[in-house]
């Protein structure tokens, strides 16, 4: 494959993205603007994540893509194939073997290590967007650390539903400074944001990159009398029996039948192999 530069983007673009990534790592949780490129896929399909992955990949890397935890969904298959074709890197479905993992809306169940990079696809990087529509104002709020409004949203949740009903994209405070949208991962995954791996977030349409370096403190916002609760469906996985993994609810017939299975397909398959 010689028609493309390695990993699709030209070297200048990758340098530009790496500069943004370095700045993001230097200021954990801060949204760094970058000149997002047009990618051969529609906005909303992970153009930000793909650009960050392209800037991180080296020929020796082993690449894994998950979409809602699964390796075999359209988005994951397409992006994996994209980099197989344009970068010629090795790919894998095994979390532990991958060096770069691009993810949409999940953090793998398997604990990540220091040699791994987790790349998130982010639709809306601004946690305050729906509370304060003016971008000039939200930037000022970040700069001056005025985050009272974020708690107003949580207050509204409790007032209306009796508990904090925000179940995904649950706001976190990074290193006691910036409030960050962890992308639409379920709040069950929030504790895993404190990780040994480097975590990079790319929002293509919104042209923002941010990062959580390894071992950074990430605290989910809450009230003293309504502490953060990383809840999940109260079932074991119907396939592997795991009780500590995040579950998808699958409707199996039209008479109300349903089953709960691990959303992380690699984790589930691995457990079933071990059991067999």
């Amino acid at each position: 494959m010689t028609d493309y530069n390695f990993a699709y983007l030209d070297e200048q673009t990758k340098r530009m993205i790496r500069r943004a990534l370095l700045k993001g790592v230097a200021i954990p949780g801060y949204q760094v603007p970058f000149a997002s490129r047009e990618m051969p896929m529609p906005y909303g399909w992970g153009t930000g994540g793909v650009q960050v992955s392209a800037a991180c990949l080296t020929p020796d890397d082993r690449f894994k893509v998950i979409d809602q935890g699964a390796d075999d969904t359209t988005n994951a298959v397409s992006i994996r194939k994209f980099f197989e074709k344009t970068a010629g890197v090795a790919v894998t479905e095994k979390t532990s073997e991958a060096t770069v993992i691009q993810t949409r809306h999940r953090i793998p169940e398997t604990l990540l290590g220091e040699e791994q990079i987790l790349v998130y696809q982010v639709p809306i990087p601004e946690p305050l967007r729906f509370l304060e529509p003016r971008e000039t104002e939200t930037r000022k709020m970040h700069a001056l650390e005025e985050y009272g409004l974020m708690h107003v949203k949580l207050y509204e949740d409790i007032a209306r539903h009796g508990e904090i009903a925000t179940a995904y994209a649950y706001p976190v405070k990074v290193e006691e400074r910036y409030v960050m949208d962890p992308s639409p991962i379920p709040k069950f995954d929030n504790p895993k944001l404190e990780s040994a791996a480097l975590q990079l977030f790319g929002a293509g349409r919104e042209q923002r990159i941010y990062a959580v370096p390894p071992y950074t403190r990430v605290v989910s916002l809450d009230f003293d009398d309504h502490p953060f609760d990383p809840s999940k469906a109260d079932h074991p996985c119907a396939l592997c029996g795991a009780e500590d993994s995040y579950l998808d609810e699958v409707i199996v017939d039209d008479t109300g039948g349903r089953m709960f299975v691990c959303s992380d397909t690699d984790f589930c398959a691995g457990r079933r192999e071990d059991a067999a």
């Binding site: 001056l144 005025e146 009272g148 107003v152 207050y155 007032a159 009230f223 003293d224 009398d225």
Partner: protein
């Protein structure tokens, strides 16, 4: 006694047009100052300059801060000024829609300032919100309703509660009774007067309605074309106006 607010030759122009020119006055703790004048006389420009919403061209505004004594708010850093804006200052807009978050419940609206200064205990925030709704005569069972479901008078009272919850020392009011019918106006004025007296608030009230200042204000400042034309005790200015424009203003009030 140190004045709470000491304004010195404040000037704001919009290009070649004058917003307000060379305004100076002092406001002492517990005092209510009324600013009257016709539309376009620069009252709102002046108020917005004082509250830090607009940047004046010249002048100084010294505010007696709790910690450091009198400081020029125009030369403060922006974080400090915004901090004042949500602790020691309050701003009541003419249109409650400008001062409220219409998509957030009444309780959330009142609690916002508390959370902005660091309250993180849900039950305490809620108790404070209930207490303040009660003080502004809104039934506490409406705490989870959105302001959109409130009448105009209730919205205005909610805005007042939301502003006073952090115990400010200085309240800016921009036509607080504008757009309300007379009986609702009377109730709101009664409430405001009670709150101002009980909490020992200082306030600057901008209005074109002389009846409002007669009830609320201790002192009065009359503005015309950006200039202050007359100042004095409210009753003195209204009963014995000296300046030609003030005489016109007082005689323009319709008698029923």
């Amino acid at each position: 006694m140190t004045p709470l607010l000491d304004v010195r030759s404040l000037t704001k122009t919009y290009g070649s047009r004058t917003g307000c020119a060379d305004v100076s006055f002092t406001l002492y703790p517990g005092e209510v100052m009324g600013i009257v004048g016709e539309s376009g006389s620069g009252k709102s420009t002046l108020l917005n300059c004082l509250a830090g919403h607009l940047e004046p061209d010249r002048g100084e505004v010294f505010f007696d801060t709790r910690t450091d004594g009198p400081r020029d708010t125009l030369r403060m850093s922006e974080p400090e000024r915004r901090m004042l804006g949500r602790t020691d200052w309050a701003f009541v807009h003419q249109n409650p829609r400008d001062g409220l978050r219409m998509r957030i419940s009444a309780g959330g609206n009142v609690g916002e300032r508390l959370m902005a200064v660091g309250a993180r205990h849900y039950a305490e925030i809620r108790t404070a919100a209930e207490d303040w709704l009660d003080r502004v005569e809104i039934s506490t069972n409406r705490i989870d309703d959105r302001p959109a479901a409130f009448s105009g008078g209730m919205q205005q009272r909610l805005q007042i509660a939301r502003n006073l919850v952090t115990g400010p020392r200085l309240v800016f009011m921009d036509e607080p009774t504008g757009g309300l019918d007379v009986s609702v106006q009377a109730r709101l004025l009664d409430l405001l007067r009670g709150l101002v007296r009980r909490m020992g608030l200082s306030a600057i009230v901008v209005t074109h309605d002389l009846a409002v200042v007669r009830l609320l204000a201790d002192r009065l400042m009359v503005m015309k074309d950006g200039h202050v034309v007359e100042t004095g005790l409210t009753d003195q200015v209204l009963d014995d106006p000296q300046h030609g424009y003030t005489q016109l203003l007082v005689s323009s009030v319709l008698q029923v």
